[in-house]
């Protein structure tokens, strides 16, 4: 009974993965390209950055990059605390 259940779950997972892989391939042009077109068109005027990557990570998605910096701070402090058992680090 347990074996049949695990085989059924495996078949379902394989079916779902194959469906995902079937639908996401490079040939289909069904992606949503509206944000891409918007950034290319208005990126320089709105953010005054010639580099579009900087325009996105310092203006459109600044929230994300701020918490990325906080993750780096927490990781470095945690590693230092684990390596050097010193209460003054925190």
């Amino acid at each position: 009974m347990k074996k049949i259940r695990s085989i059924a779950i495996a078949i379902i997972i394989i079916y779902m993965l194959s469906q995902i892989m079937w639908h996401i391939n490079g040939d289909s042009l069904e992606y949503n390209t509206s944000s891409h077109a918007y950034y290319v068109e208005n990126g320089l005027e709105e953010t005054s950055s010639k580099n579009l990557v900087t325009a996105i990570y310092l203006d459109y998605r600044l929230f994300d990059s701020f918490f990325e910096a906080s993750i780096l701070l927490v990781a470095v402090t945690g590693i230092a605390f684990m390596a050097i058992k010193d209460e003054d680090l925190l």
Binding site: S48, N51, V53, T54, L73
Partner: protein, 135 residues
């Protein structure tokens, strides 16, 4: 520590150029490829070369982590100044009709802050590894 003479000589030649290159990448983050994170990591790598040359690490970990925390507090201060001037959260502090050269300073400031934060974070990581290896 006794490193090989080839490593030390190559590090001595490479160190100033690597530091200059990292500052170039941070300062030109908004006009060409690069940015704060990449330049900061290159700057931290140059600190590793400095450790190879002199064989000791001059900065203490407590001080580095303290500077890291202060820089992290300075980041939201710079970000939230834009709310007072433009009325929107998490965007450029100068209004949209300002000239390009003035609006660029905001990106430059944020790139410098993020670059310094990443550099100091990775340097303190290197210091932890060095102290672990020596003990």
């Amino acid at each position: 520590m006794n490193y090989s003479k080839i490593l030390i000589t190559v590090s001595r030649i490479l160190l100033p150029f690597l530091l200059l290159f990292s500052i170039y990448i941070i300062a030109n983050g908004d006009t060409s490829v690069g940015g704060g994170f990449q330049g900061g990591v290159i700057m931290a790598t140059s600190y590793l070369l400095y450790y190879f040359i002199i064989g000791a690490h001059p900065f203490s970990i407590n001080k580095m982590l303290k500077i890291d925390k202060y820089l992290f507090v300075a980041l939201p201060v710079v970000i939230l100044v834009g709310f007072l001037t433009t009325g929107k959260f998490f965007t450029n502090m100068f209004p949209i009709d300002f000239p390009y050269s003035i609006r660029r300073t905001y990106l430059l400031l944020l790139n410098l802050l993020i670059g310094g934060k990443v550099a100091i974070g990775f340097v303190s990581l290197f210091i932890v590894f060095i102290e672990e290896g020596n003990s």
